[in-house]
């Protein structure tokens, strides 16, 4: 058990900007293949936490480890899916070329790329849109494209920052199921930030709730719902309803 | 405050380094040059042009021609712009003619202006008027077309006549954009008048530059060149500040740099 290092490990991590304490004393770990959802109100530092794990921010104190090694800068083994897909995609590159970007960065030979890119686009349901610019795609399709791009990195760990926050309810549910299917295929570790309790319970193996000002871990609960999950049966499962109630009460207490 | 200071401090470093390097180079290579001069001699040249009257006379000539041309171009351009901006038929009738005439480079008219008016102020401000006419025409027209429809409806409901509608509602609403046109045209008028003076007209700062060059006085030439630069920069700086002050209460997008 101790032989396998955690995919992500945070040891007493704190972060402050000047005198502004954002996060304090965060201790948590995410095991390989685990799907962890982090919820918290805006200002609880959940996005900041994700950016530290990605290596985009350095903690003021404490340590961030990936597979036992300290994180000093971003690596391609960790992919990030941002909420604002409209800004994270390269607007001047067509869908095809956006997916190509990580392959270029990792030095994949040009002749091997087309097959891989088309596979990925097909996987997220964009096979017929490879020649469109991001600006010509709907919000949901742009987010699919960003997911395809992140998968092109073949990441061990996927960090998702409220990826469906800007999408309508129908699109959101479809994408939730697709993400679960895609990460299950490769047993990818997922760190998923959201402010939606139901989304967190539906997707996660575990849900971590953050308290705010400064951000710290308030609760960390396991979600023992069976997989594969389903929008109807899972959301009607007695355990789901029980956990949902519990989480609502926890969140209300935190923000009281 | 601090950020502003460090920024300006850094901005000064490059020009000061260039000046110091030029001065040092001339100290180490003390040759008489007909083409270049060390900063110290340029400074003396500047003092000389100021004391012998060249400086004041040429500056006045250039600014007068630029201002006169600007005034003509502004008046004609704004009036035409209002007509085209308000009447759709006028817009349609003029569109092709504007498309054909506007690309004619202002300097192409220097020989024509010379033929028509001979040397002097008139040939210069005619060219400046042509050059500044177009930005006023285009920007006035755009400014009027972008007025909120609601404002125009309000003015109709109040029963204003066409003239009071133009002067009470439309021009004030379009004012920030009109001012932007003015700022751009002021810069353009200085550029064009100096160009006309360099190319043909024997007066003003442009001609002063040519005379200094021909009489092998690089010190005077660079002194005048720096002055032309300061003049252009100061006019623009002043107008940008004024623009900010005049339209600070408007939505930020309106007075933004075009």
């Amino acid at each position: 058990m101790a032989a396998v290092a955690s995919a992500i490990e945070l040891k007493n991590v704190s972060l402050s900007f000047g005198s502004n304490q954002i996060l304090t004393g965060i201790d948590m770990s995410v095991e390989p293949g685990e799907f962890v959802c982090v919820i918290g109100a805006s200002g609880s530092g959940k996005t900041t936490l994700l950016r530290m794990i990605a290596g985009l921010l350095t903690p003021t104190s404490g340590q961030v480890l990936q597979h036992g090694r300290p994180v000093r800068a971003p690596t391609r083994k960790v992919a990030v899916v941002f909420q604002d897909y409209g800004r994270a995609l390269l607007p001047w590159r067509r869908a095809y070329a956006n997916v190509s970007l990580p392959l270029e960065a990792s030095g994949m030979p040009a002749r091997d790329r087309p097959k891989r890119i088309r596979e990925l686009l097909a996987k997220v349901g964009l096979a017929n849109h490879e020649n469109k610019f991001p600006g010509q795609l709907s919000g949901g399709m742009q987010q699919r494209l960003q997911i395809a791009r992140s998968l092109a990195q073949e990441p061990d760990t996927l960090l998702m920052d409220e990826p469906f926050g800007a999408l309508d309810a129908m699109t959101r549910q479809t994408l939730q199921d697709e993400v679960m299917r895609l990460v299950a295929e490769r047993r990818t570790t997922v760190f998923f930030v959201t402010h939606d309790i139901e989304e967190a319970l539906y997707l996660g193996d575990r849900v971590v709730a953050l308290d705010s000002n400064p951000g710290r871990i308030a609760y960390d609960i396991k979600v023992p719902l069976p997989r594969p999950r389903d929008q109807l049966t899972t959301r009607e499962h007695p355990e789901f309803l029980r956990l949902r109630r519990e989480m609502f009460e926890i969140m209300n207490k935190i923000h009281a | 405050m601090t950020a502003g200071f460090t920024r300006s401090w850094r901005g000064w470093l490059l020009p000061l380094a260039v000046l110091a390097a030029a001065e040092a180079w001339f100290l180490l290579n003390p040759i008489m040059s007909d083409t270049l001069a060390p900063p110290s001699k340029i400074l003396l040249g500047a003092v000389e042009t100021m004391t012998d009257g060249t400086f004041l006379r040429t500056t006045y000539q250039t600014l007068f021609a630029a201002a006169a041309g600007l005034l003509i171009g502004m008046t004609a351009g704004t009036i035409c712009g209002i007509v085209i901006g308000l009447l759709r038929t006028a817009d349609r009738l003029s569109s092709w003619s504007v498309e054909m005439l506007r690309p004619i480079p202002s300097v192409a008219l220097i020989p024509l202006s010379l033929l028509t008016f001979g040397y002097g102020y008139r040939m210069e401000y005619a060219v400046v008027a042509w050059a500044t006419f177009w930005p006023f025409l285009i920007l006035t027209q755009h400014a009027l077309k972008q007025i909120d429809v609601r404002l125009i409806e309000v003015s109709r409901l109040m029963g204003f006549g066409i003239l009071s509608r133009i002067f009470k509602i439309m021009l004030p609403a379009a004012a920030p954009r009109l001012f932007t046109a003015l700022r751009l045209a002021v810069g353009l008028s200085l550029v064009v008048s100096v160009t006309v003076e360099i190319a043909a007209n024997p007066q003003g700062l442009g001609y002063g530059l040519m005379v200094a060059q021909e009489s092998l006085r690089p010190d005077r030439m660079f002194a005048l060149l720096v002055w032309v630069g300061i003049l252009g920069w100061a006019l623009n700086y002043f107008l940008v500040r004024l623009e900010g002050r005049l339209f600070a209460h408007r939505a930020p997008g309106l007075s933004a740099d075009a």
Binding site: G55, L56, A73, P74, R76, V78, V80, D84, R87, A88, L90, P91, W92, R93, L101, A105, S106, F133, G135 | G11, L14, D34, T35, R92, L93, S94, S95, W96, S97, M100, P103, I104, P105, S106, V107, A108, L109, I110, P111, L112, L114, L115, T116, G187, L190, V191, T195, I198, G206, L209, A212, L216, P218, M221, F222, L225, V228, G229, G232, W233
Partner: protein
């Protein structure tokens, strides 16, 4: 929609025809002396004769050559230097204030300096065209590089892209709209400075042609030259507008 487009064209042509008619009557009735304003027929005849029998064609080509050469050279320099300055916040802090000071300087004002360095010859004219045409594209490139979406900077970090990769895969494409806008302005400046250079040096070109025509009171030839210069401006603007549309297809 289509009807409205047709009306646009019909009225536009009608307006232009009316303008030509006005020109015709003003000259036919001698309201303005023909020494200064020849009739449209005489002007078109001069244009035709000049292009077919005279040397208007080689002169037009000479001016276009000068303009395009200077413009291309200026664009290359501006994009290369602008990328280097724009990509570094430190370089911008030290260099940009100087550039902002130099920008309003009339490019023609450095002609005397160029004459004293190069003499009255072709390379002087080219040098001045390049100097003047460099500014709009240079400042556009710097602006484009300085305003990269922060999210894309993060994407480049996450993908561990090298600085060089960042420049040509994110910085440069991001600056393209600003670069193109700068290049359009630059082309106008290049034409103006090419003509001014010709006026001063009597090198072959339309500037020299119109100056000679004016000096020898050949008004029809003068107008023919001005029309050709207008056409150069019109066609080059139009061409760049089309190029813009194609290159910036992703913006629509």
């Amino acid at each position: 929609m289509i009807r409205s487009r047709i009306i646009d064209i019909v009225l536009g042509v009608a307006g232009l025809a009316a303008l030509l008619l006005l020109w015709h009557f003003v000259t036919a009735l001698e309201l303005i002396s023909r020494v200064f304003l020849p009739g449209p027929a005489a002007t078109i005849a001069a244009l035709e004769w000049g292009l077919v029998n005279g040397d208007l064609l080689p002169q037009t080509i000479a001016t276009i050559n000068r303009m395009v050469q200077g413009w291309l050279l200026a664009s290359l320099v501006a994009i290369a230097v602008g990328s280097l300055i724009g990509v570094s916040a430190i370089a911008r802090a030290y260099i940009q204030p100087t550039l902002e000071f130099l920008r309003p300087l009339p490019a023609s004002a450095i002609i005397p300096v160029a004459i004293s360095i190069f003499g009255l010859n072709t390379s002087m004219v080219l040098g001045v065209v390049v100097f003047g045409a460099v500014w709009p594209t240079l400042l556009g490139t710097i602006h484009g590089f300085a305003h990269v979406e922060p999210r894309l900077v993060e994407v480049s970090r996450l993908l561990q892209m090298s600085r060089w990769e960042f420049i040509y895969k994110i910085g440069l494409p991001n600056a393209v709209p600003d670069i193109l806008a700068g290049m359009r302005l630059s082309l106008t400046v290049a034409l103006i400075l090419a003509v001014v250079g010709e006026l001063l040096t009597a090198q072959e070109g339309l500037g020299t042609a119109v100056l000679h025509a004016a000096r020898s009171y050949r008004a029809a030839d003068l107008y023919a030259g001005i029309i050709l210069l207008g056409m150069i401006g019109l066609v080059s603007n139009y061409g760049l507008a089309i190029a813009d549309k194609r290159i910036l297809a992703w913006k629509s």
